[in-house]
């Protein structure tokens, strides 16, 4: 009996494994963003209509696996034909001569005026261009719940414009239970999980306070840029929010989850939140405002590009698919299916008409400035390691009104950053 059952199961398994359809040609697409999967699938299906012999296969894994798999499969030619990846990985591959320079066809397409100079410069390395900027991977803004603003006596059409106002509003917006515990946060901060993302969110405050995680030195190298007043201010901002003004608490819901379920009033996030809200709580009355300022009024704006493998660049279809992914036809679909903003120019009017919250993302006001991640291979390691330190610091109540302790913490982080830089031969004075 047992034998028959096990033999049957096994044969069944083998049948399933062998029954995959075979296409003449496959384009494998890899992404580290699960929310991009529907977009790539749509693009694949659309592309197959004009190229019936092509099947597009999409794989999305968590970012940390994705990068490891990419870096090991690209050199051996077992990887995807098309992939999107952050600049710190791309530069590693380019350094090792593992990514093809854009063929003339793509190069002229890139420089045809469809992209801003900022984006073109970002994918130009030592005079050559690599890949096509697909989307803006980081442009963030302030999301705020208008109903809660009204309820707290704030003007829903005048969102906070700087971090001081943000904290004041957050205090008014936070709700507590009888014992004084936060049940609805006024400002949801990223204080746990997610590795490097936590540092990236911290940089929103840090950069506008006047500092950066690492700054270039005169000899073309880097050193930490946070061991200064601005660095301490930024950390103090988080500490005060959590422990002094108690506008957020580790135990309440966080991030887009909290915003969608109306358990937070405000948070700083990228455009994809709009898609989340639309699908999960379409009646939410909310607004989107530019990133609050401090000493600076800048917004992180990180082009995120798609690349081809060496093998992929040999194929005419792959090059066409690359162009298709960044076409004017695909651009609105990218927003619709993933919530991310295309990096290329396109006609955004119909979109903004339908969902006004996109206005800020597709037509940002001219006066705001931008900054992007420094393109050095060690930056990911720095962000991830700093995230661990920050996470611990955020929960440390001893840092409240304690400049000495605060100073010590910032110094520790600065030392960590420098040590990673030194190890990567990227440290200078």
């Amino acid at each position: 009996m047992k034998k028959t059952v096990s033999i049957l199961t096994l044969t069944l398994c083998l049948l399933v494994l062998m029954s995959c359809p075979v296409f003449a040609k496959t384009i494998n697409v890899w992404t580290g963003f699960p929310e991009l999967e529907p977009f790539y699938k749509w693009a694949g299906a659309e592309f197959s209509k004009t190229h019936p012999e092509i099947e597009v296969k999409v794989l999305s894994t968590s970012l940390r696996e994705f990068e490891q798999k990419l870096v090991t499969s690209i050199p051996t030619g077992t990887g995807p034909e098309v992939f999107d990846v952050g600049p710190y990985i791309a530069i590693k591959l380019i350094d090792a001569d593992l990514l093809p320079v854009n063929p003339p066809e793509l190069d002229s397409y890139l420089k045809s005026g469809a992209w801003s100079q900022f984006a073109v410069d970002y994918v130009t390395i030592k005079g050559n261009t690599y890949g096509l900027p697909l989307m803006n991977g980081s442009r963030a803004a302030l999301f705020y719940n208008k109903d809660m603003f009204i309820e707290a006596g704030l003007d829903p059409n005048k969102p906070p414009t700087n971090y001081e106002e943000l904290m004041e509003a957050a205090q008014k917006l936070t709700k507590y239970d009888k014992s004084g515990k936060v049940i609805r946060s006024g400002l949801s901060l990223r204080i746990s999980g997610g590795g490097s993302g936590l540092t990236e969110k911290f940089r929103f405050v840090l950069h506008n306070a006047g500092a950066d995680l690492i700054v270039p030195t005169k000899n073309g190298k880097w050193k930490n840029g946070i061991d200064n007043e601005a660095g301490r201010e930024a950390l103090r901002y988080y500490i005060d929010a959590l422990h002094k003004y108690k506008v957020d608490d580790p135990q309440v819901k966080h991030d887009s989850d909290a915003f969608v379920t109306e358990t937070t009033a405000m948070f700083l996030r990228e455009s994809w939140v709009i898609g989340e809200v639309n699908s999960k709580n379409p009646n939410l009355n909310y607004g989107v405002a530019p990133m609050p300022g401090w000493k600076r009024y800048d917004t992180l704006s990180q082009p995120w590009a798609i690349y081809m493998s060496m093998e992929g660049a040999q194929s005419k279809e792959v090059i066409e698919f690359m162009k298709f992914l960044t076409s004017t036809q695909a651009a609105p679909k990218l927003i619709e299916l993933s919530g991310w903003i295309p990096e290329r120019n396109f006609d955004s009017e119909p979109l903004v008409k339908e969902i006004p919250q996109y206005e800020f993302f597709v037509n940002p006001p001219a006066e705001i400035g931008y900054y992007a991640d420094p393109v050095i291979p060690a930056f990911d390691e720095i962000q991830t390691k700093v995230a661990d330190e920050l996470m611990e610091a955020f929960l440390n109540k001893k840092l409240v009104d304690n400049p000495k302790e605060l100073d010590k913490t910032v110094r520790k982080i600065a030392k960590l950053i420098d040590s990673v830089l030194k190890r990567n031969n990227a440290y200078g004075k």
Binding site: L14, L17, L59, T76, T78
Partner: protein, 282 residues
Amino acid sequence: MAKIGKNKRRELLHAILKHLGLLMGSFFMVIPFLWMLSTSFKPEVEVLIWPPRLLPNDPTYLNFVELFRQAPFFRFFCNSMLVSTVSTIVILLTSLVGGFIFAKYRFPGKNFLFLLIIVTAIVPFESYVIPLYTMMVKWKWINTYQGIIAPYLVMSFGIFLLRQHISSTISNELMDAARIDGCSELRILTRIVTPLCKSSGGALGIFAFTQAWIAFMWPLLMANEKELFNMEIGLTMFQFKFSTNYSLLMAGSIISVSPMIFIFVLLRRQIIESISLTGLKG
């Protein structure tokens, strides 16, 4: 008379206390399973109700429908099955042959080779995945079944176990008698030794199967595409995608856990015996 009654009452009290303690412990053991099961049948809104209910108010099977729509869990299952079965068969084969040779023959270099096999068992597998991984990169075995299975083809402990078993149950006289009857060495192995190894072979098989089934770090490194994910990796990636949708996640967990629980219910006694046997390898 009164004294006996008192003793009996005391015994009864003891028994009650004992079972109460054991039951409380059992509760601690099964609560994760029950909580998982109940959450998997709750609609998403009901998951976020405080205080939580152990039984869903409005049970729904839709989580499971959604689960199979979102990820090919059946495929993951088949992959786990395939890898575990191949690994088990090869480990049984290599352990049988290796155990037989090391138990019944004398040849130059025997002790050294046996020691080598045993010593490699002490070093934890995860501590040498790095060179193993670069080797697979060089061989282009990344993202292939053979790459995932390769390190799970031999088991030092299996060779050790069968050597012990064969040297204690099969006498040299028996083998000599077979030789006089004209049996070749190979025939002795297939006709005489193999049938006598059923019990320890079974224990080893269960052990090998579970080991391959729960493998995590290695397939995580090797499998690049959904088509090659096993249950563990499939669920991990699924978790990443739906990190806060607990009703869906618990449905996925139930699906991943059930084959092992099914095997456990079927072979409970053998499994516990095999673990106590493997536990005595020191």
